[in-house]
């Protein structure tokens, strides 16, 4: 019995492949499995190629997985368009639509011989049982239940619930299609059984959600009561979740006329004393940068979620990348420190988003949550989260003596000044983008500018000591290291386990705080390191360069960077580690050999 299976399915939008993936994930959750589902699309709004990847496991999942165990191609043109996003290996069972008229020996996968290839008359079975070819996805779910033992009961239970309102006839048609798929699988057993073991947590409550919904829910949990934004893929669902729920908590949403107005309204709401946020993707981040500068100099708390996609410009709007790192750290003019945090999964998006609000409120600053398309749109099953462990921090407001001759930007020991808001008697002041003295009155004095820049940058010093915003796993004294953030971190976590199982002495750092760069924490991590990999989905190795800008990385630390939509597999990382290991061994041998 296997503990883990990775499905990859592709077809055209009309094939309902993503909807099948959803059903599979929900059924897996109902049966107690851990699951992760990612989606990837072509550029058409309807009817373009679409794919999903569902990984199901009896143990917690670190990433969407590497090579597929099961590949489902409803047509080969669409499947092949996803390239490295749906990698087939010698251990993959390939299931495809027989109506493609391609012989099993002739499938268009170059340079690989799958474990088994099965042509299934999926469309024909759908037509025969449900009366429409559109039921192909239900047939596929039946095949999966039959061959891999997942969802035999739960899939139809889910479909029944989903379609109950639409009538018995539709439900029955789906049931017949599902049964036909399952019967086909039973009649054609796999050469090697690939059934997944039953989950030990069957019957326990599971949560299912994606990164965008999780981010919005975390914001509401953290006390955010205002969202100003503009639709942009792949971040729009954050705003949608807000419009569904925030009114219940006396909050409001403004779908603004543009990206600038969206963040502007959030800046206004924050000035008025309300926790506020906006969400966007690359092009929107560029438009918002002037307002981010304003929030920094006016010292107003604000959270900006940037769900990264391939860039620059429109780039790859439906695919993931990490290339907004420089923009997140450095956009906006002037000398500014603006904290940047990055979640690595749907689950930790909850914690990181709350952290972003806490940092924004405590330090009175805009904070960027640097999510990415993969985390934002992937669905994960989660065990219930104990929310009582999360502390909520609110901005410090002036009281009593602070309000006698109140100075909004008063110099204090920790450089943080109590902040009033309209409605508060005694707290009136002028907020401004222009440089100001402690009272808020405008100035163009160089010495005040120097002092205020000191205040606005030094206040972040304690943030750079926050070890809890860095995850270090593996042997702390290991000579080999991996560093990765965001959705790439999960791949590296799995690679670490694989490398450790091989006996490689390696450690992994996952920073949740990307900016300001915590020099001390990195220096400590790299002290033992002779060889290392900075793994990232950026073409220019932005993370590697950002770190080199701030710290002296050991010479043997290298960049492993590639453009977005070219995902890393855990095996890619392990291969690179092998290379580092042999380099390390050679250099040791070199040191041992006497020089001639």
């Amino acid at each position: 019995m296997r503990k883990d299976l990775v499905f990859g399915m592709a077809g055209s939008g009309g094939d309902g492949i993503v909807s099948a993936g959803d059903s599979l994930l929900q059924a897996a959750a109902a049966e107690g499995y851990h699951g992760v589902m990612t989606k990837s699309f072509g550029s058409q709004i309807r009817g373009g190629e679409s794919s999903c990847r569902v990984r199901i496991s009896t143990t917690p999942i670190l990433n969407p997985g590497g090579n597929l165990d099961v590949a489902v191609a409803l047509n080969w043109d669409d499947f092949l368009k996803f390239g490295a996003e749906l990698p087939v290996s010698g251990n993959t069972v390939v299931i495809y639509e027989a109506a493609t008229k391609i012989l099993e020996a002739d499938i268009p996968l170059v340079g690989v011989t799958p474990l088994q290839v099965i042509a299934v008359p999926i469309a024909e079975m759908a037509k025969a049982t449900a009366g429409t070819e559109r039921a192909k996805n239900t047939v596929v779910l039946g095949l999966i239940a039959g061959w891999f033992g997942i969802g035999a009961v739960a899939v139809m239970k889910g479909i029944r619930k989903k379609l109950a309102k639409k009538g018995e006839e539709l439900v029955d048609a789906n049931q017949r299609a599902f049964d036909a798929g399952r019967a086909f699988a039973m009649e054609h057993p796999l050469k090697v059984s690939m059934n997944v073991a039953a989950s030990a947590t069957k019957g326990q409550v599971k949560l299912i959600t994606d990164g965008n919904d999780m981010c919005a829910a975390a914001a509401i949990f953290a006390g955010c009561r205002f969202f100003g934004g503009y639709p942009i893929t792949p971040s729009t669902e954050v705003m949608q979740f807000f419009t569904d729920h925030v009114w219940k908590y006396n909050g409001a949403v403004l779908q603004a006329e543009d990206e600038i107005a969206g963040i502007g309204a959030a800046v206004g709401a924050s000035f008025a004393g309300t926790k506020a946020m906006t969400a966007t993707s690359g092009p929107g981040l560029s438009l918002k940068s002037e307002m981010m500068g304003l929030a920094s100099i006016a010292e107003l708390p604000l959270v900006i979620v940037d769900v990264q996609r391939g860039g620059p410009s429109t780039g790859l709007p439906t695919k993931t990348e990490q290339s907004d790192l420089f923009a997140a750290a450095f956009s906006a003019h002037g000398d500014v420190i603006r904290p940047v945090l990055a979640p690595t999964s749907v689950a930790d998006t909850f914690r990181i988003t709350i952290e972003a609000f806490n940092i924004a409120e405590y330090y009175q600053t805009p904070v960027i949550v640097l999510s990415d398309q993969e985390i934002a749109s992937r669905k994960e099953t989660l065990d219930p989260i104990d929310t009582s462990q999360f502390k909520i921090i609110n901005r410090v407001v002036p009281t009593g003596t602070d309000l006698v001759d109140y100075k909004r930007f008063k110099q204090t020991d920790n450089h943080i000044s109590p902040i009033s808001h309209p409605g508060m008697l005694g707290g009136t002041y002028l907020a401004s983008g222009i440089e100001h003295v402690e009272s808020g009155a405008p100035t163009n004095s160089g010495s005040v500018h120097q002092r205020m820049n000191d205040k606005r940058t030094k206040k972040f010093d304690p943030l750079k000591e926050r070890k809890d915003l860095f995850e270090v796993t593996g042997n702390p004294d290991a000579p080999i290291a991996i560093l990765a953030w965001g959705s790439v971190a999960g791949v590296c976590r799995e690679a670490l386990e694989m490398a450790q199982a091989e006996g490689i002495n390696v450690k992994l750092m996952v920073p949740y705080l990307l900016y300001p760069v915590a020099e001390g924490i990195y220096n400590e991590f790299f002290r033992s390191v002779q060889r290392g990999l900075i793994v990232e989905q950026t073409h220019l190795a932005q993370t590697f360069k950002l770190l080199r800008m701030h710290i002296d990385l050991p010479k043997g630390v290298q960049s492993l960077a590639r453009s977005g939509a070219n995902p890393f597999l855990p095996t890619d990382i392990v291969e690179a580690l092998h290379r580092l290991l042999s380099e390390l061994q050679r250099s040791h041998e070199g040191q041992l050999q006497p020089q001639e």
Partner: protein
């Protein structure tokens, strides 16, 4: 509204010294605002006054209200965020013609269709003063400035017609030729329950043309009440507004006799409706439970 009458104009004047050139029309506008606020009587700390960038956008700092001198062209989005976060506040926005009708021109239409209870005062001087006299969106065609040595090639924006066309519920014009009238107009704008727009012809003494100084303005000004204009008549208002640039009509062009519901009011209604029986925010993750 906790309207009281115990405030005087001077209670709204701050200690900051204006950076405006001597004789600037904006000195009159700030006086007009002090008087209007005193007439309304809201305490300064219940007022949020937002501006963009430009000479006139310095104005919030010269009042004792909560001020926000923000970035160029963006006073209106910020004002809307403030109003939605706390609808009890009296929210004012102000700026120049460039701030409002060039860089920030896209925002006005959307604020108008949302009809938030915000009063927007534009100090219209047909020039960019802070950057030393460039062409502005309301500069006359043919005007010579340092960015139009051989004369402007474009027609000016007509601010009055612009906001009337988008459906603003309250549209008025004022000028320093009549401070009491200006104060009364601003007061009426603030009292109007919804978006209100006041265009103030505020001469630039440094870069403005002679015809746009007070003497010139007096020569072309006409009081709308004296003309017998009915401010409930939107089409008549649009007809009069067409003379922007040639005539200076002072007073209320249009006041919707049946003010539409405001966005901020509707938000409150929605909050009241949906917050009843809402599960606590601490349990928000329950939404994701799959049984």
């Amino acid at each position: 509204m906790s309207a009281t009458c115990e405030y005087q104009a001077k209670d709204y004047k701050s200690d900051l010294k204006p950076i405006w050139c001597p004789g600037c029309g904006d000195f009159s506008v700030v006086q007009g605002i002090y008087r209007a606020l005193a007439a309304i009587g809201r305490p300064p700390h219940e007022i949020a006054f937002v501006s963009g960038i430009g000479c006139s956008s310095r104005i919030p700092g010269y009042t004792t209200a909560y001020g926000f001198n923000s970035v160029h062209g963006r006073s209106l989005p910020i004002a809307q965020g403030i109003k939605l976060a706390n609808p009890d506040l009296l929210v004012l926005a102000a700026g120049g013609d460039g701030d409002g009708f060039s860089i920030g021109g896209g925002h006005i239409a959307h604020l108008i269709r949302r009809n938030m209870d915000i009063t927007y005062i534009v100090m219209d001087n047909q020039i960019y003063g802070l950057t030393k006299g460039q062409l502005s969106p309301t500069s006359q065609k043919g005007r010579t400035t340092c960015t139009s040595r051989y004369g402007s090639l474009e027609e000016p924006v007509n601010p009055l017609l612009y906001v009337l066309a988008y459906g603003a519920g309250f549209v008025a014009q004022a000028s320093p030729t009549d401070l009491a009238g200006m104060a009364a107009t601003i007061e009426e704008a603030i009292r109007y329950p919804g978006f209100a727009f006041v265009n103030i012809q505020s001469p630039c003494v440094t870069y403005g043309e002679e015809a746009q100084q007070i003497k010139g303005l007096k020569a072309i000004s006409e009081n709308l009440t004296a003309l017998g204009h009915n401010p409930a008549d939107r089409l008549a208002a649009m007809d009069l507004a067409q003379h922007y640039g040639q005539k200076l009509h002072l007073g209320v062009f249009y006041r919707n006799p049946e003010p539409a519901p405001t966005y901020d009011g509707l938000v409150r209604e929605r909050q009241a409706l949906l917050s009843k029986d809402a599960p606590p925010a601490e349990n928000i993750l329950d939404l994701f439970i799959k049984k």
